[in-house]
Amino acid sequence: QQQVKQSPQSLIVQKGGISIINCAYENTAFDYFPWYQQFPGKGPALLIAIRPDVSEKKEGRFTISFNKSAKQFSLHIMDSQPGDSATYFCAALTGGYQKVTFGIGTKLQVIP
């Protein structure tokens, strides 16, 4: 049972383009939605996160858009660069133990 559905699984974007990754969830008890970035040979690292009472959060070239009624959220990477090539995971948290539910991941390749 996949509680956080992520798409696409792979994405190829030209340098300077916009990368968009989408996620959807079912559990309305989720109360925090982080995105993680993982480079080959490394563990995932927090990229940006949003709470459900906010519709958008921007940090540099990275923006999360959140639609609470549709139970969907997405990551936009503006002016994508080859250094952004990595695997991106959306995630959702609930509960006091900070148990994280991850999407299946999106492998992004930014080509020059």
Partner: protein, 115 residues
């Protein structure tokens, strides 16, 4: 700087062997987690621990056990390794009482191959 370390980056074991994967964090975090990462399946939670000697099953605990004798150390044990346990194993930690403003910190992973 926060640090989660895992005892091995690469490990090759034979079917039926008992395997220990060690994870140590230096942030005094209460909560620790073990995930496995497989292509097309993302990260799946195996076990987590919210205190010393406490443990909770995650989504895929079958074939695994854990041990947390000290706050900083969380071990994953494969009692009798099987080929379907070939995977990347990731350890993570987060402070207790965090309410969405903190993040899980991940180790670099252990790539386990069971022959």
């Amino acid at each position: 700087d926060v640090k989660v370390t895992q005892s091995s980056r690469y490990l090759v074991k034979r079917t039926g062997e008992k395997v220990f994967l060690e994870c140590v964090q230096d942030m005094d975090h209460e909560n620790m987690f073990w995930y496995r990462q497989d292509p097309g399946l993302g990260l799946r939670l195996i076990y987590f621990s919210y205190d010393v000697k406490m443990k909770e099953k995650g989504d895929i605990p079958e074939g695994y056990s854990v041990s947390r004798e000290k706050k900083e150390r969380f071990s994953l044990i494969l009692e009798s390794a099987s080929t379907n346990q070939t995977s990347m194993y990731l350890c993570a930690s987060i402070r207790g009482g965090a309410r969405g403003t903190d993040t899980q910190y991940f180790g670099p992973g252990t790539r386990l191959t069971v022959l």
